[in-house]
Symmetry: C2
Subunit: 379 residues, 2 copies
């Protein structure tokens, strides 16, 4: 049987690398972008749209699906793939991040040795998540890749709290591995989460411990939680050397990242997968990703676009850019028309996938440095 | 040059008929359904979606586009077809209906000999529409078919008011014809509107007068304004015999109709075109059109659909029905996901187009009665 992860090529001058992840629902070539489909849909797009865009995989939130419609419903309907009509690779998160960030009445979120008590942001009902429970839910959802339940400490936090949360995450990692051992008919791969907040000692310790456990992949959590960009990169500089020197290489997922410069910073350090709501959320707000915009984006809500007959993006071959002007999208956003959100989301994800195409191609052709310079000089 | 309207076949036992409308952007086979794209978009669908669905033409609201983005912007960007990326036939209405139904502060809507003063529902700004102005705007928008500015009397109204409104509509019809005489590079066909509310004498008088003027087509207005169904059919029974006996036949458009039973009633009396927001609006509310539902629809918001693995509609070959279950759409509507509105709208318009396919086929094959009975017995 082909391995879950194959390192196809290691860049000579950086830690960037080409890889391949093999799941029961197909392959993912890495570095790869992972769009977010929180509630079992990448907002405003059909699975067919995602295929046309070239998305290889996407992320569904365990927290959201547990609350609505419930994992039992999804299981009854044949699992997430059938439920959503998506036949490609799929990933669920552990629910940890949402439990801490979305739950109502933050003072009612109680973490203990076993798990987290929290209140639904939908109806105020009380819930209890444990690592076993998270795995149980994720098994019913049936994604190709799962994530072990972790405690994502807030930013900033004290060394003491970060250590406590990390230790809990490590204990839960073991519990998750045990819970994931019994597998259903279709293999589900499990990622362990590295925490440690902005503390070097903890980050390195977490990377050591998680990478020594028999996970299928490694995820880096506790970033994209409001910290300055340099702190995210700093965390990578502590964690990635530990992971990169492991004898058996496993895919590395950076949770919740990133923006364009973050993507280059992460890929250069050896990160293989990155999920982020940026392109989809920005799109719904009227922001269009383009290499020519400041910070790679322009705000189509602005009046200067009222009569702009330029295609939506720049040098883009997507269906949206081939069919519509900035003026039309500006009008649709002004009129709050549903089509606006669809077209902007489509374009933005297309933009991201073409960027990752270029990243992989540059690694193949030993042109990583050139590509990175070309993109980062645009800012 | 081929004629604008050709009567292809007249049903033997009813007044139903097959026809063909030829516009600069292609042909429309009638009876035809005309979806509504109020603000220069059929809500949540791309032009490509409409092509795949088989929509032959759609309706854009002059009132909406005048207020936002303004006809000057649309003209600058090459007219409505280029603005929206739609290459097929297109129709604009006169703005009359919206002026009376949507304008803010109804007491500030002032109708006089020349036109209507009204207040924008968007920003409260004051506007003045006349028949000349409506044609001027519609010329800048550049649709293939335009409608003459009319006064749509409220329902119910007195005979006196209905007569006054009708007489104004007739005067404005002449003004509109004169204004439309000077044509741009691309021919735009003009429909005159028949009014007269629920009064036989007025309806017949209006049908006589409008059909005697050199319009390209005839529209029936003042229906779908809140009257009982039987009043709409009654109006048709007064108007259609007048139109049907004209020597030169022209396409007849019934404004704002209809539901499934209305469609059969109208087509049977010789109506060729019907626009209605029903399938798109119902779709966004979670209602799915299906031959097996009560009144041809089911409400997917209901809890009974939580675990329903049945395709969205019944006996439907559309992409939505081939890919998704009722349970998934139920979930998307519960979660207020954008994809819900898109999928339901797509299916509902697909349903309507297949119904009109069947209507045209039944006329071709002399099976109109059979088809009508089959559908109306389902209710």
């Amino acid at each position: 049987m082909e391995k879950f992860f194959r390192l196809l090529k290691q860049d000579k001058r950086s830690k960037a690398r080409l890889g391949q992840i093999k799941t029961p629902h197909g392959k993912i070539f890495t570095p790869a972008f992972v769009p977010v489909g929180s509630q079992a849909t990448v907002k405003s797009l059909t699975p067919q749209d995602l295929k046309t865009i070239g998305s290889q995989v996407f992320f569904v939130n365990t927290y959201h699906l547990h609350l609505r419609p419930g994992e039992a419903v999804v299981e009854k309907l044949g699992g997430l793939h059938r439920f959503m009509g998506w036949s490609g690779p799929l990933m669920t998160d552990s629910g940890g991040f949402q439990v801490f960030s979305l739950a109502k009445k933050k003072d009612l979120v109680k973490v203990d040795y076993h798990g987290v008590h929290f209140t639904s942001h939908l109806d105020g009902s009380r819930h209890f998540f444990t690592p076993e429970r998270s795995i149980e839910i994720q098994k019913k959802l049936g994604a190709d890749m799962m994530v072990a339940f972790d405690e994502c400490a807030p930013y900033p936090t004290t060394f003491e709290y970060a250590r406590t949360a990390m230790e809990r995450t490590h204990r839960w990692a073991q519990v998750s591995l045990a819970a994931a051992k019994s597998q259903g008919p279709q293999k589900q791969f499990l990622f362990g989460v590295i925490q440690g907040s902005r503390f070097k000692k903890l980050r390195q310790q977490s990377a050591q411990l998680i990478s020594a456990l028999p996970f299928d992949g490694w995820a880096i959590g506790g970033v994209a939680v409001g910290e300055p960009k340099k702190d995210m990169v700093q965390a990578l500089d502590w964690v990635m050397p530990v992971l990169n020197k492991q004898k058996t290489q496993k895919p590395v997922h950076l949770l919740g990242v990133g923006e364009i410069d973050d993507i280059f910073a992460a890929a250069e350090r050896g990160v293989d997968l990155m999920d982020c709501v940026m392109p989809t959320r920005l799109g719904r707000m009227g922001w269009i990703l383009t290499p020519k915009g400041k910070d790679f984006k322009i705000d189509l809500n602005k009046n200067i676009f009222t009569e702009d007959s330029h295609p939506v993006g720049d040098d883009c071959q997507c269906e949206v850019c081939r069919s519509f002007t900035r003026a039309y999208l500006h009008h649709l956003f002004r009129a709050q028309e549903l089509l606006a959100y669809h077209l902007a989301t489509y374009h933005n994800l297309y933009f991201m996938e073409r960027l990752f195409d270029k990243i992989r191609m540059s690694l193949k052709k030993n042109e990583w440095d050139r590509l990175k310079k070309e993109w980062l000089s645009k800012q």
